[in-house]
């Protein structure tokens, strides 16, 4: 009965969407990279440095949107670095991704410490405030939950629609899907495989960085070490769970965030009897379970993790 009142409450759905926002952005970014045939394991680090850059810019006096933009640009730079190795040089995507993650995350922590050498409690900024959209935010439950979010959440939802439209309804999206399925055929069609893959990785990394920036500019108001805490890896699991489809990715992220919101409530209710670490483990275990369940249906892009070399078959 209590669960029912919880599920009918606005706060629960509102919290779900809030928790889902960085995951939606990160998952979309990863999906874009993988659809073009590049596994981007740099996501964890790119989200970290996005979170730092966004926060640091605002902390230094920049506008909130300027922070988002800078985060996206820095994310794109790391995405470009990733594509330089994996697309042009054909290096191992696993090792490159881990390298990018380690480099980006540690650079973020380094800059954070240089910026604030002797601070124990992280300083706060004024984050994005909820922006209720007139009229629709008055609709009971759905409207109240969906349309009273911060602007970055709207941006995430918009990104789902844009990515889905571009992927399935435009020549550009067709090119992206082609280089991820059969790059040789794409090349025969006169598509520049390297350019399309690079573009997808750069754009995807920008989305990931905005996902990271959501955490410091919207969900919380400060940066700290281990802020991302595996969210990037969860996004990679969500991409597989979503079978590389943007709308399913949205659904997956919401489902996942719903469980997370439920878990937080449960922790408040029965936390006294069960160690809190069990609750914190749930997201990771849930991701592994989701992978296990969905692995049979997984329709991998055929050329995922296969570097393309001109003139080779």
């Amino acid at each position: 009965m209590e669960i029912l009142t919880l599920l009918l409450g606005v706060e629960f759905w509102s919290a779900t969407l809030r928790i889902a926002s960085p995951l939606i952005l990160g998952t979309l970014g990863e999906l874009l990279c993988e659809r073009a045939g590049v596994l981007n394991l740099g996501i964890e680090g790119i989200m970290t440095i996005g979170a730092l850059v966004g926060w640091a810019a605002v902390y230094q006096g920049a506008n909130l949107w300027m922070g988002v933009l800078l985060a996206a640009v820095v994310g794109m730079v790391f995405g470009w670095l990733h594509s330089l190795f994996t697309v042009y040089l054909g290096a191992s995507q696993h090792v490159t991704g881990i390298g990018i993650t380690l480099l980006a995350a540690n650079l973020a922590y380094f800059f954070y410490r240089v910026l604030l050498p002797n601070v124990t409690t992280p300083p706060k900024i004024i984050p994005f405030q909820p922006l209720p959209i007139p009229l629709v935010s008055q609709i009971p439950l759905v409207g109240q939950a969906v349309f009273s979010q911060t602007p970055l959440t709207y941006l995430g939802l918009l990104a789902v629609a844009v990515v889905a439209y571009v992927l399935y309804r435009t020549p550009l999206g067709l090119a992206v899907r082609m280089v991820g399925e059969n790059p040789a055929a794409a090349e025969a069609q006169g598509i520049d495989v390297f350019a399309v893959r690079t573009g997808a990785v750069v754009a995807g990394s920008g989305l990931m960085a905005i996902g990271g920036a959501f955490l410091t500019l919207s969900a919380f108001d400060s940066f700290f070490v281990n802020l991302i805490n595996g969210r990037g890896w969860i996004c990679i699991a969500l991409v597989i769970f979503a079978s590389w489809q943007p709308l399913k990715a949205l659904l997956g992220a919401l489902l996942f965030a719903g469980f997370d919101a439920l878990q937080i409530r449960l922790q408040q209710e029965i936390g006294a009897w069960i160690p809190y670490q069990v609750f914190l483990m749930l997201p990771y275990i849930l991701s592994i379970l989701a992978l296990t369940v969905m692995s049979r249906q997984a329709g991998y892009p055929k050329a995922l993790m296969v570097p393309f070399r001109k003139g080779e078959r």
Partner: protein
């Protein structure tokens, strides 16, 4: 004549390539240090002295290298068979948990029996932890990269629970740390801070090397890594070899955890490993997955960390700089590897 040139190239390059990568990384990170207003040459001088300049520094570097040797070997064994184990961090902690369960006084045994027992327990814990993703991979094709990564977080939370709950040391003044290992379960010290774990790591590397170059199993792992379809066609039992690779890889990382707890820290806590598992990937890549090379690259990487610690103390630079240098050297190494391959093809 051409042949001669190629032989000489392939002998020297595996040694030169990682050195070049590290030097390039150090140069690339110069602007970072300059940017903070510290003289870079002076800081690199402090770094060199702090890592290798005295017998104390040297023992510190070698003791820091010991866990990296284990995680590096773990990664090298797995990657050679193209089994992407990114979970050495978790397996390292699993080994440390095993050492704590066995070695904190529930069991009293003479050291001669106790030491092999906790090493075996750590090996089994680490190996079993990696066996789960390996089973998921061979049975239902679940990608092992994501599962091993996610398990790291699960294991770390497990450690957090254990050191705050059932294994908590009541005399630690409220600090979340497990009870200390008994004297029987403590590895002997060698020089300064180095301990018997260093010898064990070298021994493990030699054993892995022999397996790689002399044993059928090592050959099968390499064959699977080189071309899984050809390996299957040649009748190699793919699934069984991958499961065994996982057991060995996880086990090596687990032994690393045992040695760190039993040789250096003395007790299990949440800060046992500052990312040894992830750094192990860099160690293995610098060594181009060669087990003996892992020993040397572990010392190099450890020297950077220890040196950077000294530098951050003297110049007040964040110690994350070491992580930045080390991860840059991984990316430089990737370039080195590619260039090496090109050079070999040209000749």
């Amino acid at each position: 004549m051409n042949r001669f040139v190629r032989e000489r190239l392939s002998f020297l390059l595996p040694v030169l390539a990682p050195l070049l990568a590290i030097v390039t990384a150090l140069i690339l990170c110069l602007p970072l240090i300059t940017w903070t207003g510290v003289s870079p040459w002076q800081s690199y001088g402090v770094m060199l002295k702090g890592a290798l300049g005295s017998s104390f520094a040297l023992s510190e570097t070698l003791s820091r290298a010991t866990p990296l040797m284990f995680t590096g070997l773990s990664v090298a064994v797995a990657f050679r068979a193209r089994f992407w184990n990114i979970g050495a961090e978790g397996q390292f902690y699993a080994g440390a948990i095993a050492a704590t369960l066995v070695g904190t006084g529930y069991l009293t045994l003479p050291p001669v029996l106790m030491m092999p027992l906790i090493l075996l327990a750590g090996f089994i814990f680490g190996g079993l932890l990696l066996l789960l993703p390996a089973l998921l991979k061979v049975r239902i094709q679940v990608d092992e990269v994501v599962t091993t990564l996610l398990l790291n977080f699960v294991v770390l939370l497990m450690v957090s629970y254990l050191v705050e709950g059932p294994l908590k040391d009541p005399s630690a003044l409220g600090w979340p740390q497990a009870m200390p290992l008994t004297a029987q379960a403590t590895l002997a010290k060698l020089l300064g801070r180095t301990h018997l774990g260093l010898i064990l790591a070298i021994l493990s590397a030699v054993l892995v090397w022999i397996m790689n170059s002399r044993a059928v199993l090592g050959y099968r792992m390499k064959a699977i890594g080189a071309n899984i379809r050809a390996a299957a066609f040649a009748g190699i039992p793919i699934d069984r070899v991958i499961l065994f690779t996982a057991l060995l890889s996880g086990g090596l990382a687990g032994m690393g955890g045992v040695c760190e707890v039993s040789g250096l820290k003395g007790y299990l806590s949440l800060d046992l490993s500052p990312g040894f598992g992830y750094t192990g990937i860099i160690v293995a890549m610098l060594a181009q997955l060669h087990p003996i090379g892992v020993l040397f690259s572990a010392v190099f990487i450890a020297a950077i960390y220890v040196g950077a610690d000294a530098m951050s103390r003297s110049a007040n630079l964040p110690s994350y700089l070491a992580d930045v240098i080390v991860s840059t050297s991984l990316l430089c190494m990737l370039v080195s590897i590619l260039v090496t391959h090109r050079l070999r093809r040209w000749k």
